[in-house]
Subunit: 245 residues, 2 copies
Amino acid sequence: MSRLKQISEAVRDAGSLGVAELASLTGASEMTIRRDLEVLAAQGVLERYRGGARSLLLRGSEPPFALRSDENMDAKRRIATVVADLIADGESVVLDAGTTCLEVARLLHDRRVTVMPLSLHSVNALSSSASVTLLVPGGRPRPGELALTGPLALASLEALRFDTAVIGCCGLSAEHGMTAFDLEDASVKRAAITSARRVIAAVDASKLTRTALAHVAPVSSLDAVVTDADGDDGLAAAGVTVVTA
Amino acid sequence: MSRLKQISEAVRDAGSLGVAELASLTGASEMTIRRDLEVLAAQGVLERYRGGARSLLLRGSEPPFALRSDENMDAKRRIATVVADLIADGESVVLDAGTTCLEVARLLHDRRVTVMPLSLHSVNALSSSASVTLLVPGGRPRPGELALTGPLALASLEALRFDTAVIGCCGLSAEHGMTAFDLEDASVKRAAITSARRVIAAVDASKLTRTALAHVAPVSSLDAVVTDADGDDGLAAAGVTVVTA
DNA sequence: GTGATTGAACAACAGTGATGTGCGAAACTC
DNA sequence: GAGTTTCGCACATCACTGTTGTTCAATCAC
């Protein structure tokens, strides 16, 4: 686990922590801790005060993109590989924001497909590709996540129809369906689902036990769920095709 | 001048050149030349054949973004500084693609403004800013340039109204007005001009003697031209405010 | 006022990317 | 098909960048 993540979790669990304590916890020098705290404060994870920092992470929110991006890489890669295999050459795909979908974008780099990513991270991953026809949706990028949201994003999605939507989410269960932490995100995901003929959810197993604030869609609107470990989560019983990577 | 640029010009001037000749010209090893030619071929600058490469640069087109980006940096920076000073805090700005406008984007990074850049390069330059309200237009990024074009881009521009448009161009003269190499680009620039109350052209002096294929707008639609050296180009006589950086 | 905390400057360090060399493989010429 | 050229992979080298730790003067909180 990266030191940044370690600090962010320690501060979140304790509410607030001093620089010296974090230094002895991580084994790094105090100067390094200060620099780390500065980075985390810029990401909105915590708030500096003289001598330490206090957590700003709400219970219902998720840690920022930079801290999630290198977590569970194995699972994400395996899920992304399966998703990429489900996509045929020539297809048009709308690709959700999030770290798992970013892995899918990387795997599509040399494929002959049309892709509209809903986050600038994926746009950047694909912008150097000669084989991908890249479409950028409009919108306002949310800081850190760089997910494109707002009226411009919705308008872009409404103007187009895709073969497949690849959607990540923050929570997925047979009972509550697909849920997201952010209301804006939820409406963009919904628009993406509406504008696609086939919907694939790419979800690591930790999300299958979780439910977030904003409802996106019922499981009945999903054509397939790709995940990394099978739990008895009731999805299959609800009639969804579950693929385990 | 970078070796890449040197190679690209040598091949363009000669039509085609061998690896060995390029190696002795640049002083680099043949292996390095091969790697460079691979890069340039990927950018569409030239075409490899066994033993050498043949130029693909048409006379009427411009060299790709990567080769222009570090040319005339001084002039671009000076122009960009003046342009940034013309923009007041709180303004909404639509920012054209191109290397000069990218410099403007960099200068706006810590300002309190709303910006819609028309190229992904500028989007990336601004996406880490906490003070800029960033709006991404939709569109299809042109390879290399990453300028957003097409119906999605036009729709994004039509949906919004800006205080100021900062436009770069490939040619500008009192007689032919503002011109661009690419037809798609021209229509995006036109839409940007239409959706802004004030139009600033950021143009280095080399463009003032040139005219490109696609007509964008007459000089009468420009409120100010910022350039780096004054020639007797007739712009001032045509009633345009010319600012020399 | 006093002691802890901070941030800037500098040095050491590891990681990354660019370049060159050697060699076997592929391709072109005759 | 033999000989020659060209190619690209693998590895060593080098410069550069980004990270970390140390020192010290300035700043802040009490």
